[in-house]
């Protein structure tokens, strides 16, 4: 099944060691996105960067070192994203959110009938 509509895309930037109530921030945001039924949310880890925290963040040779830059791409309908933004205001203490209006094409398998 294919649907086309206009939606919103958020790109949220912060650091991998940022936390929300002891939990990694990206996991907290992801859980919120799921709860709101947002279409797509993906977390990417950068290999180097700097941002609002004004520190050079980078992944050292130790493969699971923290403090890498994190970018979350979140896509949803206008209303879903509008519901998410107040939570981001609360959860993201230091970071950057870039929003843009996008044309969305969604492919989904037709619900199975038995």
């Amino acid at each position: 099944m294919k649907e086309e509509f206009t939606g919103r895309m958020l790109r949220v930037h912060f650091g991998e060691d940022d936390r929300w109530q002891g939990k990694p921030l990206h996991e907290a945001i992801l859980a919120k996105c799921e709860e709101l039924g947002i279409l797509e949310a993906v977390v990417f880890r950068g290999i180097e960067g700097y941002g609002s925290a004004s520190r050079i963040r980078h992944v050292s040779h130790w493969p699971y070192s923290k403090d890498a830059p994190i970018q979350m791409t979140i896509i949803g309908a206008e209303e879903q994203i509008a519901k998410l933004t107040p939570y981001l205001d609360e959860l993201v203490e230091e970071g950057l959110v870039a929003a843009s209006t996008v044309e969305v094409v969604r492919y989904s398998r037709a619900p199975e009938r038995s």
Partner: protein, 251 residues
Amino acid sequence: MLQPGKAVKVTIYLSDGATHHGVPLYSSILDFLFFRGVAGATVTKGIAGFGADHHMHSEQLVDISDRLPIKIEFIDSREKVEEILGKLEELAGTGLIEMQETTIAKPAQLSKPVKPLLPPHLKIEDKAQIMRIFVSEEDRWKSKPLHEALVEALRANDIAGVTVYRGILGFGAHRRVHKDKPLVSSRHGSIMLSVIDSAEKLRAFLPIVDQMVEEGLVVFSDVDVVKYAYRALDMKQQETPSASAPVEARP
């Protein structure tokens, strides 16, 4: 490059251990001077000293030996120095900056001959679109990973460029959280393909995506692109070979 004659010598006195954005301050300043094209700079470390706060810093006291004095010196033209002085004052923080008139007797020579420069590359600015395709790493197309098949299809259709990103965590059309588990082979991740080309070419490619992607999301947004290219320069020269100097037809 410096010329013999009048110039300005700048000396910055810092305390070792000072940091700027998490890196040693002297290295931050050195980077700043380097990328602003200053002719040359030297950092020296003192073995003892004191500054405005009148604390003696010396090598002998282990506990404060990380606060030894650091001196950065560089020489450049007055215009260059004035151009960067503002930012330099900001960077130096509590440190001291001294300037003095100097005369260059002999400028430094390049240790290696300069390589012949490549012809300047071409800068093309244009309106384009970015198409992001979200699929799962385990999705397949004719027994091949779907994202790899998509890259091949994009290349076969002359799309300008694509980059594939693997997410560390995410959920999508499948409504289930993908997690990149370290130490376990991570074959269940979210994949994003970021494709850039003109709106027309991307729209023309969409029917192919329709065929290949069963579950997933495609998102279009407008971008302004700046492209740097050598190859395009050759093509442009071929297109307009006789703009200023007509070339005779060769057999």
